[in-house]
């Protein structure tokens, strides 16, 4: 690495942002190669890691060093030669730190993609230039949109195998635009790449002078993520109450948690739900630093002017902008467990910092995730199925629609006997 980069990294780390993205593609579209390429070209690979895959490639008789091996994981999948779960990878450039949720593209692994997508700002969807838009592409796009990922980048890969043809790229782009227009995706990009040869991944391609757009890395480093969080509707789910038993802080009562939306300021009039008591924010702390305002995704501690009984699961909001409160919820659920969902069954649920129980009231329809058609005659919900359901909870939840707020709009369902997380749900 050159000295200039090193100095840069030491001094500018205080301005670096964090971008979380997930990757999706069908088997053999080149996802592992692309991730390996990003890591390698951004110089995020250490010598011992590179030597290890060089050695393995040689042993297997590969001609080139197989960059895909860098993201190879657990032994089970080494034996089967497939990725079976979400794996997280990290790399950084002087501008941003990146967290990759690497999720497999097989049909039976929708749940993994949903898991990886749930925390992502951006989704990379790979398309093989020779095959164009296939069923899986639609499925990956649908899941990205369902999970509310703000930015989607389609990488048309293996351009080297179609003579770097502009025509091929434009055709696929048109197809994808047509399909995406049926979905809610805020921000879409298209990049023609060759993960194997490196064209337009980190370095601009010399083989596609017709392409005027950005490289994938440029997009990753520069896409505006400042508005990915909701900074409008003030939501503070109380996570933990701090009451030090010390003389110095005898009367201190702090409400800790992570801001789920909006901007809270010292002096703001607030309402505590569900009790409905109102008060004023006396102070906001991060450790012993008092700060003037707090926004998502900060973890803070607040104190209020009045002594109100507040506990975990309560929510602090603004008077004129309150969340919904209801026991009846409409959900899009992705089923994660091998045992099918029981219609009429009871499940435990977790929503923000709240625990409750619920009963499945109705299955309205299942979604065919390849065609987006509704299936109304088969209501058995198996692993990897996505369905529209209604539930009734033991007590009212304080929530927003998922499309408005990914934190207050999401919940998980839990099997009460095994304690496994069986469903991921978005409130509609």
């Amino acid at each position: 690495m050159e000295n200039s980069t090193i100095n840069n990294e030491t001094s500018s780390y205080l301005d670096m942002e964090l971008l979380r993205f997930s990757t999706a593609g069908s088997v053999d579209d080149g996802k592992s190669t692309l991730i390996g390429r990003l890591l390698y070209d951004s110089k995020s690979i250490f010598a011992d890691q590179y030597e290890a895959i060089e050695e393995t490639s040689r042993r297997k008789g590969d001609e080139n060093v197989n960059l895909a091996l860098l993201t190879d994981g657990l032994r089970a999948e080494r034996e089967q030669g497939i990725t079976i779960d979400v794996a997280y990878r990290y790399f950084a450039t002087p501008k941003r730190k990146f967290i990759i949720a690497d999720t497999p593209g097989h049909i039976q692994y929708t749940r993994n993609m949903v898991t990886g997508a749930s925390t992502s700002n951006l989704s990379i969807i790979l398309v093989d230039a020779r095959q164009g838009v296939v069923e899986q592409t639609c499925r990956h796009t649908f899941i990205s949109s369902l999970l509310g990922i703000p930015h989607v980048v389609f990488c048309i890969n293996k351009m080297d195998l179609v003579d770097y043809s502009e025509e091929v790229f434009e055709k696929i782009k048109k197809d994808l635009e047509a399909f995406s227009s049926k979905l809610e995706v805020r921000d879409i990009h298209f990049v023609p790449i060759s993960a194997l040869k490196g064209d337009n991944v980190v370095n601009k391609s010399e083989n596609m002078s017709w392409y005027q757009g950005s490289t994938l890395m440029y997009l990753l480093e520069n896409i505006h993520i400042g508005s990915d969080y909701n900074h409008v509707d003030c939501r503070f789910p109380v996570q933990y109450v701090i009451r030090p038993q010390s003389d110095e802080f005898h009367d201190f009562r702090g409400y800790s948690g992570r801001i789920a939306g909006g901007i809270f300021k010292k002096g703001d009039e607030v309402v505590v739900l569900p009790s409905g008591f109102s008060s004023k924010i006396k102070s906001i702390h991060i450790y012993n630093n008092e700060i003037e305002e707090a926004f998502s995704p900060m973890s803070v501690t607040m104190t209020l002017d009045d002594d109100i009984d507040i506990s975990r699961g309560d929510m602090i909001v603004r008077e004129n902008n309150q969340p919904n409160a209801s026991q009846d919820l409409d959900l899009m659920v992705c089923w994660l467990n091998d045992k099918p969902m029981i219609n009429g069954g009871k499940y435990a649920l977790k929503h923000t910092t709240n625990d409750a129980r619920c009963i499945i009231k109705e299955v309205k329809y299942k979604v065919n995730i390849n065609t987006l058609h509704r299936i109304e005659d088969d209501k058995v919900i198996n692993t990897n199925d996505i369905a529209r359901i209604t539930i009734r909870t033991t007590r009212p939840l304080l929530f927003d629609k998922y499309s408005r707020n990914r934190i207050t709009g999401s919940l998980i369902l839990i099997n009460e006997a095994t304690n496994e997380t069986v469903g991921a749900a978005m409130i509609v």
Binding site: Y90, T119, R258, Y287
Partner: protein, 301 residues
Amino acid sequence: MKSYNLTHLEELEAEAIYILREVASQFEKPALLFSGGKDSIVVAHMARKAFWPAKIPFPLVHIDTGHNFPETIEFRDEFVRKIGANLIVGSVQQSINEGKVVEEKGFNASRNALQTVTLLETIEQHKFDCAIGGARRDEEKARAKERFFSHRDEFGQWDPKNQRPELWNIFNGRKNMGEHFRVFPISNWTEMDVWQYILKENIEIPSIYLAHQREVFIREGVIMSTSSFIQQRDNEVATNMQVRFRTIGDATCTGAVESSADSIEKIIEEVAAARTTERGTRSDDKRSEAAMEDRKKQGYF
């Protein structure tokens, strides 16, 4: 226009603090595994921040192999005193004395594997239902899939095929009798993030992380500190070198790197230019390519 954006370190810290508070809320008797290494120091530092002005609502647990660098133990005691935490020590030596484990013999003898037994015993003895650790996903391939809330069966075993999916920032810590959890608040941090955070927060660390003169010898390309716990072969001649440690584990299997980085800033420059991953200096991982995975299944951190 004002930007409502956090830096990567602020966001990572907010995430870790959120997880530490989740642990305090969801478990009855959690404990923080504290090795005196930089990762566990960073976690303890954030635990202090998370519950301020109250004290950390759970004890620190040190699994002591008995093969420590003296600097680590000094540091540990001073650190615990300063933050007013409660320290519990689980001793591998005691497990050996009680015949629960058998000491490895020979040149490559190490107590690293024995730690697992002592750890599980300490958890059982104190009825801890959750152990917070400083492991990071970037350390090793097998850890790339580890959850923040990692479920362990009643034997402390990790089943990579049967982990609960983790979505959004909702963590499911529900469990049946006898089962427990390992929780890793800094899963998403890299070695670089940890050093940058230590610099930003001005966190004290044991002196052996910084370059110093030390008597060492070379074994299979790894620089090892001479010590009464390690048997040297005849051809393993001791020399003096300027070195520092990138991780602090059992003194018998933690290698040093040659370095002149005597400040955190210089360490960051060095990490940026580093040629080998951190665990590359730990000889216990070299025993087999899948070494870590095997140990994890048995209940290692």
